[in-house]
Subunit: 721 residues, 2 copies
């Protein structure tokens, strides 16, 4: 997306479009193709996508020259259109769009697809033109899809005003597709055909002038034909609206699966707090999606595979699977793929193994994962019998069933009949199963036309596309189903946030002393500290804490006090403290601090250093990072991000997801950390950030020192907007 588009977008009115208007956009009964001409491939394709076998409504063509276009009489102006046109599909050149849209408005047409390119994506002039179009749309309440988008294909609704050729229509099914890339739409349709999976509708967003991806997702969440929503996302332009829709999707039980590009381009935040190293554009998206229950995938193959398993409707009560296959090699790949996505293969109970032994050959493996061996060539009914037995085992929540549909039509019709019969018997076995049976093929190859024919004739599902993508998709589906309630509950947060009014100059910094005061007063466990204005005050404070102590320059204007000699550690006597006071305040004076003072604190050592920081994401608002602190922040970037607000449960769970989680368990005999106390500290910091609202630029506690049950913030920094 160019900067121009961003500039334009900021001036847009981002109001969710009503369900009625979205329904009207996607379900027109009559369509006008404006700018229809035989010289344009788009015109040919769109017209071909609206022939009577694909669309039962009226199609009108508008061409300034009139005459026969695509074999049909055209009208020479929008004005000549009848009154009942529901959708204007506009293909004229960019220079003509404003006039055409005025005519569309005058005609009272309330929905438009703008295929035309040359708007905000093309530069400042295009962006200005786009704003003119927007003004017309707002003034006349026209819902626009595009510009610079190919339109949509509502397969379930049998209306496909879409600008590129659709040589073969996919099966109609539960997958709704929405893409912020027109170039990939054909590929997604090809994938649906290749994998023999059903699509409800597909939308290519274009520049999102009035209709955003979020609007389309909202429509699909409430569209009965759609069971799962597959998205290709470049950027989400209305984060707050998206949050609401994502929650509606969770409530409706319709998973959002997103392929979000931009991992490579996304940078880390530049911030003077170290938290900036942890919170990058892409990691925030990961965190937001996780919080909202949006399933993120990294390839188109995974997008289609995840959509496929969700659309199947299979419901899993847990992550324990039985595996039935006839290849030890396949089972090893399945095991390798299952582990990283959290699927486990528990032992069967003895009855299951016994039941399997009764009909399996002696050299087959009746344990989980079951290897029926190549003997299935001899005894064809082994797989279906094994699936039935395994599916009733109380230790499992589902069956991974390794089978491919045949690819080549056999020469002998009897063999074809046998094939259909074979798969029909599998379907019968699956129907008797007490847990879902998930057919998984070996590799991500097409279901061939012959395979699709057998699938239709037998009722056997196509199966997930290959072990690699299929098991990954299954893992995502199980995780989504198991986390759904928790995610929803965490999003029910409707605590009223009490604003906290702090006197701080915009752009200023609170150094350790003032930041600690604020945080301490809000319940963050800060290490005790006394502000001393003289060597004697410092020594007295040290005596009251007990030795050793630390003396630090206290000055908001010095962000990295150790760099200028403003920190003295390991002080063991009053004399050392007095000398240290003089040294750090002198360092402060050299750095330009007027009347420098010093903080005296007890010296801590040992333990695990964590960091708790909050920064503002321009799209998603405050994001808290909880991770490994100290010098390790930049080295390992080991943190878990929480867009705020966040639930206490989630923050605690996040601690166990750190790569360094073992440190908190207590390495080599160290006392285990009190995760509840850490969570309390982080929640207190999060509450401060939320109460400070937009005033806050960043808030950072580093280190938060954890020694078993003791949790203490040793340093803090707050910057203001």
């Amino acid at each position: 997306m160019s900067n121009h588009a961003v500039e334009t977008a900021e001036r847009r009115v981002r109001m969710p479009i009503s369900p009625e208007r979205m329904h009207a956009l996607f379900n027109p009964r009559s369509i006008a193709l404006i700018g229809a001409t035989e010289r344009s491939g788009w015109s040919w394709a769109t017209f071909a996508n609206l022939t009577p076998d694909r669309f039962s409504g009226e199609v009108h063509l508008v061409n300034p020259k009139g005459g026969i276009v695509h074999g049909q009489q055209s009208l020479s102006s929008v004005e000549e259109l009848p009154e009942n046109v529901d959708l204007a599909y506009v293909m004229v050149g960019p220079a003509a769009v404003v006039d055409v849209m005025k005519q569309v408005a005058a005609k009272g047409i309330k929905s438009a697809v703008l295929l035309t390119s040359g708007f905000s994506e093309a530069g400042p002039e295009g962006a200005a033109l786009e704003l003119e179009v927007l003004d017309i749309a707002l003034q006349h309440d026209i819902t626009i899809l595009g510009p610079n988008g190919n339109g949509f294909a509502n397969f379930a609704g049998h209306v496909t005003p879409y600008g590129l050729s659709i040589p073969r229509v996919p099966l109609i099914g539960g997958i709704g597709v929405v893409l912020q890339s027109g170039g990939l739409a054909s590929t997604v349709m090809d994938l649906a055909l290749a994998r023999n999976v059903g699509v409800s509708m597909l939308t290519a967003m274009g520049n999102e002038l009035t209709t955003t991806l979020t609007d389309v997702v909202r429509y699909m969440v409430h569209d009965d034909a759609t069971k799962v929503i597959a998205m290709f996302v470049e950027s989400i332009r209305d984060p707050e609206a998206f949050r609401v829709v994502a929650r509606e999707a969770l409530e409706a039980g319709k998973p959002l699966v997103a392929m979000k590009v931009g991992r490579s381009a996304a940078g880390a935040r530049v911030a003077n707090a170290h938290t900036g190293a942890l919170v990058g554009d892409d990691s925030v998206i990961d965190a937001v999606f996780s919080q909202l229950g949006v399933v993120r995938v990294d390839s188109l193959e995974d997008l289609v595979s995840a959509a496929e398993i969700f659309a199947s409707g299979a419901q899993f009560k847990g992550n324990r699977f039985g595996v039935v296959s006839s290849s030890g090699g396949a089972n090893e790949i399945i095991a390798d793929c299952a582990e990283p996505v959290g699927l486990v293969f528990p032992d069967f109970n003895p009855e299951t193994e016994q039941a399997l032994r009764e009909f399996l050959p002696a050299f087959a493996n009746p344990r989980n994962p079951v290897d029926l061996t190549g003997f299935v060539v001899v005894q064809e009914d082994l797989p279906e019998r094994a699936a039935e037995v395994v599916a009733q085992d109380p230790n499992i929540d589902g069956v991974i069933y390794w089978t491919d549909l045949p690819r080549e039509r056999p020469a002998d019709p009897a063999t074809h009949e046998a094939n259909v019969d074979y798969y029909r018997r599998q379907v019968q076995a699956f129907a008797k199963a007490e847990t879902p049976v998930v057919p998984v093929g070996t590799a991500f190859t097409d279901i061939t036309p012959y395979g699709a024919e057998v699938s239709v004739a037998s009722g056997y599902p196509s199966g997930l596309g290959g072990i690699h993508h299929g098991i990954a998709a299954l893992g995502k589906a199980v995780q989504w189903q198991l986390q759904r309630e928790d995610r929803l509950k965490a999003l029910q947060d409707d605590r009223a946030v009490q604003p906290l009014d702090i006197d701080a100059a915009p752009g200023s910094t609170f150094g350790e002393h003032r930041a600690a005061e604020l945080l301490r007063s809000e319940g963050v466990p800060m290490v005790p500290a006394t502000l001393a204005a003289s060597p004697e005050e410092a020594a007295a404070a040290a005596e009251s804490f007990g030795f050793p102590v630390v003396v630090k320059l206290a000055a908001d204007e010095v962000e990295h006090k150790s760099d200028i000699g403003g920190v003295a550690l390991h002080l063991n006597s009053g004399d050392e403290v007095r000398a240290a006071f003089s040294a750090v305040t002198a360092a402060g004076a050299r750095a330009g601090v007027v009347d420098p003072k010093a903080l005296v604190q007890p010296m801590r050592s040992g333990g695990v250093e964590l960091i708790v920081g909050v920064v503002q994401d321009p799209d998603w608002g405050p994001v808290m990072a909880v991770g490994l602190g100290g010098i390790w922040v930049e080295v390992f970037k080991d943190s878990v991000l929480h867009p705020l607000p966040v639930s206490r449960e989630r923050v605690r769970e996040g601690l166990t997801e750190l790569r360094a989680a073992a440190l908190l368990d207590g390495v080599r005999g160290a006392e285990p950390a009190d995760l509840d106390a850490i969570t309390d500290a982080a929640m207190s910091a999060a509450a401060v950030a939320e109460r400070l609202g937009n005033r806050l630029e960043s808030l950072e506690i580093n280190p938060l020192l954890v020694r078993g049950g003791s949790v203490e913030a040793l340093d803090a920094l707050i910057t203001w907007r």
Copy 2:
């Protein structure tokens, strides 16, 4: 693989099979199918795979009952076979195999495929039977492929004695396939057909009674028809022979691509040294493959994709690519996929951009990656012209060219002709290009029959299967080509290793004192230490080092001395040292140490703690781990493994591959570590391990303390076999 197979394998004679004998096995002119019967699917399939259209030699059938089998007169015994049979393909039941093999031997047949199952994979009885067959093979010098394997398909040699149906023969091409899983062979052939790529031959290994995967790979390395070898690997049974073959493959410029399963099952080594946490079965395989230049992949899709790019013969001088596509979305996916595999997209030089601007529409992007936009629908020649211009840019080493072959046959024959013409023009543009142009499709879908037809008619290659798998494969290919010389050079190590004879009881341990003595004498920089037998000796040693010092119990029988109170740190005076001596030796006495002594060392603090450890892998011999040490070993398992011997260059390079590499650069103003000094220390430790040979169980330096230019081992442990 069951334990029985392992037991059997250990008794096997593992001698590489001569090239002549392997050639004879894979190129028989006449074949006897022994146990041919119409009651067996295997018999039907094998016979069908040897019909005259697939094999021009003689096929004889042996069935004890004689008569007509598969429409051909059979012989009732092996004895009746003519004299010229080159290969016995044995399908009889397991009980009959020994007799049949005796007859095969008597007949003078020198090669056999044993399809029959029920041997070592099935249990102890089968394993015993397998040994009987082995005895016959060794006695009569018969090369056996199998048992429990489907045989092979030498497509380039037009001889496919293979036990499962091959409904459609793949294209003949440069990919040699060898699989330790019969069940996956059909999938790999399907994938080759789906992706329209050519296979030279395919072998299903079975139990590897005399012919191992390594033997087959060696054959393929020297087989002119094979350009790249794609392997599915469960375990490599002859590691030393494999090392030799892998080096031959590097020399021949034939990449080995391996999908090695078992990541999930592979455990970490159990060892009393902490190195055990770093060196697991699977990480050793990764390290060995990396050292040998074997390309490891994690899916069948990646296996085929990597084989495809290697087989294309494209040669890259570097990792800098230009991208030509007509979709911004595709470009973003390409960028996301390229980054993790090390491909970069540099800026074009100004002449290239200017040349592109001359014919691209104003709203297209002439910078790298190029987005031609959907305008390619209007102006069809944009892609080929852009590819030609981009390919001559001096800043790039290759072009990623985003295009899919058409999938559906157009209704209009003229459109078909236009399609072929379009792709033919691309081919012409590629031929003029000064760097390789790599066509990459969007998703991993089949090349449809129509797409394959266009490919053949136009000469346009099928292109890599989708961005996700294709760019990953391209990254592997570029890396392999760029590293090949270095890998080969590193394998040229032929230093004579001087054995080091140390007096140590088998199974014993050298604690810090003796281990340090040994390592110090071999050039490892150990922290100074004095062994003290009395409090006074300890205090004197401390005075000579200067304070602070450390006092540690010195006792080989105590492996974790700090756990029993055997370590005293931060000692600042003679009195403290004397007291510490008494305390740690008393702790030793309580732990049963007779006449305990103590080590006195200067106390070090700060710096980065590394670990250098060597453990013995049962398959691959000594493996050195160099990584983050101290308590971080188990927490982050951040290490690089080096099978020994290893080159100095590689060890130094490995330091920069640590996740914690930034620590060595010097975090927050710390002095950068001297990587050469660290490398020297690790190389000295490696030399000790090599010189100790099989006597060594493990050797560990932890921590190796690095403070800028100072590198010192603070503790060490050696265990003996």
